[in-house]
Point group: C2
Chain length 393, copies 2
């Protein structure tokens, strides 16, 4: 009598959550310092001090009726203007407040976009490996998730696989770069080829295909440029979040940017507003909207992530592990030394190394290591990673 | 090619929003002090100082990684425990943290509950007049909204009308007391009769009917008790919001309480978790969750609303208007002196009195007056209300 799909989603914990709970048990048994928990993507570096200061200032000087009052559903006008101006400045692309819709973070941005553009029976393509909730979000919007695997050599798009995945029912493709779980940044060349392929397919089927780019990791890139997709492809919706860039994942703040190059961008924006309304997002949290306005060009100090990446990638490949070089985010995706990544993760538990098997990311035989932990913890874990792979020699 | 329903929802501004925009225009033309804008339900009294102080304290003393980090999807355990303990204390009903799901406010609570319990083709009953978004939320959850009008004499439930509205497809009834737009509090007698009727109907159809109570106005009651529905009826989901009680409507914080008297309350809770996940609500804003924990038994100083209620109700009925006595919320629902409430609202604009016609609330021939404005503004408006009705003498 309940909605069985929702019940199943609520009853089946995600694999990541299961491992995290196991970690909690082990932390009690052997002490937190002896558990190497690489399961969660929770930023380990604090929000910039300026962000906290901005919050305190807002709370101290702003009229509380205005500060905590409803903003318009799409966000406060001055906040949206600041975001749009920043997009213009950073990416040299036309943008204005009427194309920005403030949201409760990237997940909300994605569900709103998917519900805005999808109809029952549409297909949405995810490039594997992908964040598992894409399937949940797409299916709730009435669409079917179609998986197109990336090439294993470098986790760039495999265009023959992708081309086969596109049909007359394809409504959108979700692109996530820097990627969760691989940390790979899609190259300019890849994005250009993607734009060309989609343009060809649009012409072939006489219909539009959206790129929905999921960009929570945009600011977490280590020495490489992250191409901005609206510069390459017109029918693009950008889902941005401040969760990782400002280390505010619990606060739920982000935005949707509807590219002005979409021929009927005003209509797409209206559909976004309609979906936000129907899903129950009245407005994005107001205090956080004003924080975004006041801290628009700040990011957390992500240098520690780069340090962790270098330490872990260099050591693990030196020990004999195989991994795509991650140029962003805070994930390393290593190949399991045995075909069954779940068995490998079980074996890793002997050393209290908690890793996430890749099956739920739509790509078997790998594990995800979230290195948003302290550098000291990574250093301590390295001998165990070494022992672990030596079991396979 | 877009989702046409979402597009329509985004393109068709709500009537309330239209009036508010008209008010903005008039404020520029004649000055804000000369526009009597009773259109919006935005609290006019500030959040308690203790709430701002609690925020500043949290920002000052709490580790930012914890303060702004993801909480579990259902909310931080200590926050949920505090909410549950408060329910036990206030209403003498069993409750625990595992029945509390923290949300981004009442709208989110409603969409999550509706998506958790409804299947395609289910019917959800709204008691008219009702908050117009109920229709949007129910339809997005795949249900059909069935309207049962209240009795016009006192806006309590008309049980013969309601009984006729219940069918074998009825999945839930939404109860909102104190009510938007009437301000009426449903009496104990009404709630008891509702519980009896639904119990009878459950037995008749051999299936469960939920009450979903939408309680953003619970703390805004003026000298009357607001019956707590889980005390009267087992299959109840409570949707609570701090928007009005703490004057934090923009911050989006509230909760769902799954009554422990639901036979499979654990399953219902799981479906709630699943729906929250699928709709894209990762967790309720973390800072606000902790504010709720630290300010659990506070409410804004609502005495000004009572003062406004008395002033407006007494004056308007004295001038010859008819209205149900509102015992809560901050709305007065007056009968239009002409059959077409829209025409009456147009006429009111001559005096810069901005009122909301009742059609979108599912009950024609009335207007809603939101008296969450300054008392001085109400005082200044009274002569115009008098002139307005005198046009009909």
């Amino acid at each position: 009598m309940l909605n069985e799909k929702m019940l199943k989603l609520g009853e089946n914990r995600s694999v990541i959550r299961e491992i995290f709970e196991y970690g909690n048990k082990r932390r009690l048994e052997v002490g937190a310092e002896n558990v190497y928990d690489f399961s969660l993507g929770n930023p380990s570096i604090p929000a910039p001090k300026a962000v906290n200061d901005a919050m305190v200032k807002l709370l101290t000087v702003t009229d509380p009726v205005r500060l905590h009052g409803y903003t318009s559903a799409q966000g406060a006008p001055d906040v949206r203007k600041t975001v749009a101006d920043s997009i213009v400045k950073r990416f040299g692309i036309e943008a204005n407040a009427d194309l920005i819709y403030m949201t409760c973070g990237a997940a909300a941005s994605l569900t709103i976009c998917l519900n805005a553009v999808c109809n029952e029976g549409d297909e949405v393509i995810a490039l594997a490996p992908f964040f598992p909730e894409y399937r949940v979000f797409a299916e709730k919007a009435g669409a079917k998730l179609v998986v197109a695997k990336c090439r294993e050599s470098d986790f760039q798009i495999d265009f023959s696989v992708l081309e086969n995945a596109i049909t007359k029912n394809t409504k959108a493709i979700i692109v996530n770069s820097p990627n969760n779980p691989t940390g790979v940044v899609l190259s300019k060349e890849t994005i250009q080829k993607l734009a060309d392929l989609l343009s060809k397919k649009q012409a072939e089927y006489g219909k539009r295909i959206f790129i929905i780019c999921d960009e929570p990791y945009r600011e977490l890139a280590y020495g490489v440029e992250v191409p901005y997709i609206p510069q390459f492809y017109d029918n693009t919706l950008v889902c941005y979040s401040y969760s990782k860039s400002l280390s505010l994942p619990g606060e739920r703040i982000g935005y949707i940017f509807v590219s002005p190059k979409i021929s009927d961008c005003g209509k797409v924006y209206a559909a976004v507003c309609g979906a936000g309304r129907a899903l129950g997002f009245v407005c994005a949290p107001s205090l956080l909207q004003f924080v975004v306005r006041d801290c628009i060009d700040l990011t957390s100090d992500v240098r520690v992530y780069k340090k962790n990446r270098d330490l872990l990638y260099n050591a693990l490949t030196d020990y004999g592990y195989t991994a795509a070089k991650p140029d962003g985010a805070f994930y390393l995706f290593i190949k399991s030394p045995e075909p069954d990544a779940n068995a490998f993760c079980e074996r890793a538990k002997k050393y209290d190394l908690l890793l996430v098997p890749s099956d739920s990311f739509g790509f078997e035989g790998y594990v995800r290591i979230s290195y948003c932990v302290s550098t000291a913890q990574i250093e301590k874990s390295l001998p165990y990673f070494k022992k672990l792979i030596e079991e396979y020699f």
